[in-house]
Amino acid sequence: MMTPPSSLVFVIDDDASVRKGLTRLLRSAGYKNEVFESASDFLQREQHAGPACVIVDVRMPGLNGMDLQEALIQRRREEQLIFITGHGDISMCAQAMKAGAVDFLPKPFRDDELLGCVERALIRSAGQRQRSLGENEARSRLGLLTPRELEVMQLVVTGMLNKQIAGELGTAEKTIKVHRGRAMRKLNVTSVAELVRLTEKASLAPVTVV
């Protein structure tokens, strides 16, 4: 198994047989897992810190699989979703895949097919997690700047010269130079190129699909 030991698989299905079968199958393949009877039960659980994937039934009373996907997107959470379904919901399948689901499996599914999906989902979740960690770090570094320094830096990355920035902000070129030097030190960057990478990292959308 390539996924880190902190990985966790969640199963959400209103059918007890399906839950029991899945939890055993996951355990037999060495995946730690937790099962839930409904999507709202799952949402009440504290977010797992490590890589996570959710195997969820599309059709359930109350919140269904699609509702859960929307809720997770809104909360900018990075659990990867695997949909399972007892019907051939083709339109739903397309919608779910577009919104970033790992796969859409009709019941009854092959064990290796499902486990393959789980592995992919966890790797994707881990990668996503990595990226969001970088994003958080970049953001916190940018957070050290004063509003004025941030303003100057935002213009620097567009390729403007100090003189142009001074003209834009209505101040002396010397003042810009001071702000710029202080900011570069705070951010621990030595070149404009490095600065550009850092700001790009920070503004990375958390849910962008690879």
Binding site: V18, R59, D111
Partner: protein, 470 residues
């Protein structure tokens, strides 16, 4: 009459009857003249025979009178001989029996025209008499002797006991006898007949005899059976169609346990392959597989039950069980329709006598209609409540309430009509079959708009006589 001179003395009333005036001299020939030509020989030989044998006669003949009328005469007479043996006289009476004869003729005509058989049972002498039509109906030759056993033997074995009981019952309790049953001829031909009779009793109330009629109702019975069969076939078709609407739901119901089975089986193999077999876990796992297999079997059996054709097995059923079974059947369908499904069941429900498959069909149809009615209802408002309740009069009400379009005034009166539908691709059979099923169970069905929005369909069935809920 003097047998030698053939001279006849006749009373005034007899002269009036035969339209002779009081002066006319009468003899055998004169009287024979009044007799219908076709009956003259009959009368002549009867009278002569009585004289020759010194015996008596009793005949009925037609008289053709001068005014052109025809009358039926009943005549009886006998020879009496003077004590000294010298002279003999034939004396007798003649009565006009035309009205009786006409009534008899009319009855015979009616009997023949309607293939009516006439029978007579003498309770004292224990003898049975059948006319020709009755013999024909039972396939008994005209010259065969008739006894009560002839009758019993001619009954269809499945009906024999019922007929004997009804017949004895009628005679002993002085009730009118009326029964429909089958006769079976020696060649195997089965005919349906309707028999009716009326008993006659002495002053003490002891039965003397019973007279009655019997008529062939085979054609009517066959038409009835055909109608019944057509109704059952239609009802079956409607049931199959209803189940057809549930295919997605059924697939879901089967895929759930199948999914459990495949996951558990794969897990078991993996545990074994990894050499980490916890026997208790393996035991539970196999138990779950078996349970899921049974669950899938139940789903299949439920479908087979609804698909089968012959459904006339009535037994005491609990309507709550029926509701639970049908709700299980449509649960997945409700999810597909994004419809919330609720039940409100009276826990203390008496049993009803019914055919479980047909009652399930009624409920299934009402639920499927409710789904259709909520097609344009916003998803958040789609809801259905199925309730059972005991009425004050002891009947049981089962209702299906939806939050759909409701019932418009123009369709209200025609909802349960055959071939009436508001659906684009509906046949208009569902509700009419539903009503005929409910009515054949002695119940009623009604529909109304519910408070707020939507409609409520409810059917009421009578509770079993002496059972209570188990």
């Amino acid at each position: 009459m003097d047998p030698v001179t053939t001279e006849i003395w006749m009373s005034e009333s007899a002269r009036t009857l035969f339209q002779f005036d009081s002066q006319t001299h009468l003899n055998h020939a004169a009287l024979q003249n009044r007799v219908h030509p076709e009956d003259r020989a009959l009368r002549d030989s009867a009278v002569k025979h009585a004289i020759e044998t010194q015996g008596q006669y009793e005949i009925e003949y037609r008289a053709l009178l001068p005014d052109g009328t025809l009358q039926w005469i009943a005549s009886r007479g006998r020879c009496i001989t003077a004590k000294d043996g010298t002279s003999t006289r034939l004396i007798g009476v003649s009565i006009d029996v035309t009205p009786q004869k006409e009534a008899q003729d009319l009855f015979r005509l009616a009997a023949e025209g309607s293939h009516l058989g006439v029978w007579h049972w003498d309770e004292v002498a224990k003898t049975l008499t059948w006319d020709g039509a009755t013999r024909e109906m039972f396939g008994i030759p005209a010259d065969a002797e008739i006894t009560i056993d002839t009758f019993y033997t001619a009954l269809h074995p499945d009906d024999a006991e019922r007929v004997k009981q009804t017949w004895r019952h009628a005679l002993e309790l002085r009730l009118p006898y009326q029964i429909e049953f089958r006769t079976q001829r020696p060649n195997g031909t089965v005919r349906w007949v309707d028999a009716r009779g009326h008993g006659y009793y002495d002053e003490a109330g002891k039965p003397l005899w019973m007279t009655g009629v019997v008529f062939d109702i085979t054609d009517r019975k066959e038409a009835e059976l055909q109608t019944q069969q057509n109704r059952e076939e239609l009802s079956h078709l409607s049931r199959v169609a209803a189940m057809g609407e549930l295919t997605a739901s059924i697939a879901h119901e089967l895929n759930q346990p199948l999914s459990g089975i495949t996951s558990n089986a794969a897990a078991g193999q993996r545990f074994i392959n990894r050499g980490k077999v916890d026997l208790r876990e393996l035991h539970d796992l196999l138990g779950d597989i078996a349970a899921d297999g049974r669950r899938a079997g139940d789903v299949i059996r439920g479908i087979q039950g609804m698909m089968k054709k012959d459904v006339s097995a009535r037994r005491p059923i609990n309507l709550n069980d029926i509701v639970i079974r049908v709700v299980r059947m449509v649960k997945a369908s409700a999810m597909l329709h994004s419809c919330e499904l609720g039940t409100f069941l009276d826990p203390d429900l008496p049993m009803v006598e019914g055919d479980p498959v047909q009652v399930q069909q009624v409920l299934l149809n009402l639920i499927l209609n409710a789904f259709d009615a909520m097609h344009d209802t916003p998803v958040t408002h789609r809801k259905m409540v199925i309730a059972t309740e005991r009425n004050v009069d002891g009947t049981i009400r089962t209702s299906v309430r939806d939050y759909g379009v409701g019932i418009s005034q123009e369709v209200q009166g025609r909802l349960f009509e055959q071939f009436f539908t508001t659906k684009a691709n509906g046949l208009g059979m569902g509700l009419s079959i539903v009503r005929s099923i409910v009515e054949s169970h002695g119940g009623t069905i009604a529909a109304e708009n519910a408070d707020g929005s939507g409609a409520r369909f409810q059917f009421t069935l009578p509770a079993c006589a002496e059972t209570s809920s188990v």
